[in-house]
Structures are given as C-alpha cells and as structure tokens.
Symmetry: C2
Subunit: 151 residues, 2 copies
DNA sequence: CAAAAATAGGACTCATTCAGTCCTGATTCA
DNA sequence: TGAATCAGGACTGAATGAGTCCTATTTTTG
C-alpha cells in the first residue's frame, strides 16, 4: 500500500499529456479519448485541477483546458496535493490539535514530520517537465513534432 | 492524503517503544497499556510484525514480544512494508501485468517507478534507532536509564 | 498434571473513503 | 439563438480500513 488515489494518478496522466501538447487547449472529451480514461472522471479531475490553479480553463464552443504554468515549475508534489490534499503520512500531521488522544505524550510527532518532509522533498524534486519529457511517445512525423516542442 | 494506514502508525509506535526497552520482552497487554492503544488492535499489529520477521515472540505465561534485530538495521520503509504491504504509489507498480488497460501505451510507468524509488529511499534512510532515540521520553531516574541503554 | 497466561490465526462487522456517474446551471462562440 | 463546453455539487455502489472477537496452541507455574 501507501498509495495515492486514482484521481491523482489520472491527474498526472492528464497534465503530462497537456505538457506535451502546449500549443493549444484540449477539451475534456478530447482528453478522455486521448488518454483512454472515462470522460466523467476526466472531467471531474480537470475541474479539480483548475480550481486548484494548476490548469486554466476556457468555456464555450472552442473551450478547453491548458496548463496555467510552465511544466518546469509544477512539481509532482503540487499535483498530488491538489488532488489528494496535503501530503500527510499520519493523521497527527494534518489534523486539528486535539484529535489525537496521545498528543500530550507523543514523542514521535517530530519524527513523523521529518519523515513527511523527506517524502515531500522527494516529490518536489520531480517536475511535470521531467515526467513529460520521458513520457513523450515516439512519433512518426519528427519534423513537425520538433517544431511544436520548440515552443 | 497520501497516508499510511493506522496499522503502520501503531506498529511504528510499538516498535519504538520496544527499541527503548530492549532489556526484556513485553506482552501485548503491557504494550497496550504503555502506548494507550486498544489491546485487540495492538495484538493484531504485533502478530503481523512477528509474522513478517521484525519481532520475535515467546508464548506462555512469561511470554511477549521483542525486536528480532538491532534497531539500527530496521528501516521505516521495512516497518511500513511489513504492515501495509509493498510501497507502491500506483497500482501499476504493484499489480500483476494485464491489470492496467493502458499497459501497452503507458509511457509514465518508468516515471512512477522513479518516484516510487525516491520515496522508498527517503523511508529507508531513517532507522528505528533514529526514531527511538529522539522519541525516548525524558526520565527521572537517569542513572538506571543510562545503564539500561548501555546494552 | 492441571490451570493460567500468553501468542497464532482467522472470521466477522461497521465505518469511512474512493470511484464513478449524473444532473443542472453558467459561459462562450458561431 | 443554439450548440458546445466548463462549473459545481449530489448521489450511489464498491473497496478498503479499523476494530472486535472467538477458538486453538504453547509455555510456565504451582
């Protein structure tokens, strides 16, 4: 175990796709087709990412979603946090004070924060750009692709 | 989110306690009292840790549990893996081939493995000894405690 | 040898959370 | 004005986690 949710998984797949096609926005139906993921769920995830500020949306007939920042500045940690909430290995890291019966005599808390920090750091060290570059599928029309990527 | 289960949480609390009292084994009821955790759950977790080889058990009237290895050699990663299963951020890391509909054209898999490896490494870099040392509560009888810790 | 105390293993229930779908409204463009 | 799209939330069913309990088996002690 120790797994992130499918929402975060899907979200990163979608963001990676967008990072590889920066020239135009994509609608939810388009992205569902491209990623072979169910449309309602794709739609839900995109809306969520938009609300969290990682995507920009545009309504209307020619609307769709696009990245709101440079892929180099979006970390894996940020994407997971946007969809799954703050990265908190244990309850006591996230919850409001008083929720843990052992609060007064818990000497492990500082350690949890350390562990949490380690993991967060690991996830912050990887950007969407890193993911997208190596997930970019091999393409036939290399010429046009190179042109697109030059942006 | 991105949280380990309470089982793992409890397990680490229990292991930390044992690491600080290496001179003798403790029974499940004793540990439940000391850690202020519910006995049935404590018992379940201890059995689990024992089956996974992190604890040694001894049955009978004077029985109980004790660490089976030096705390320096037990990593946080190992304890979490023992109780929550292998650290696998996404399904596709853990599952049997064929379970992911996108297996053929998923270009993210290698990236997930990288991310997973980062996090695993972060958790392997912290030992039970590290946790126990800083979670050891301040004690009044410093003399006797020093003696016990000298083991 | 018998009783008590402890672990071993698993079955079981309940609550929570996740995954996924659907509906209604607001916005934009042709 | 109508079609396409996003926005937001309600809702259901499935999966999983948390926790309890019961019945062996083992070991020590009197």
């Amino acid at each position: 175990m120790l797994r992130m949710t499918k929402q975060a998984d899907y979200g990163i797949v979608l963001m990676s796709y967008l990072a590889n096609q920066p020239e135009r926005p994509f609608s939810a139906p388009d992205l569902a087709v491209e990623t072979q993921l169910p449309l309602p769920t794709v739609s839900k995830v995109l809306k969520h990412l938009c609300r969290e500020g990682l995507l920009s949306s545009h309504r209307g007939v020619k609307g769709g979603y696009s990245l709101s920042q440079d892929p180099r500045q979006i970390t894996v940690a940020a994407m997971i946090a946007a969809l799954d909430g703050p990265i908190a290995f244990t309850e006591c890291i996230e919850d409001t004070p008083g929720s843990c019966s052992q609060e007064d005599n818990c000497h492990l808390r500082a350690n949890w924060q350390r562990i949490n920090q380690s993991v967060t750091q690991a996830l912050e060290d990887i950007s969407l750009f890193d993911l997208a570059v190596s997930s970019r599928p091999p393409l036939v029309q290399l010429g046009s692709v190179r042109g697109a990527l030059a942006n």
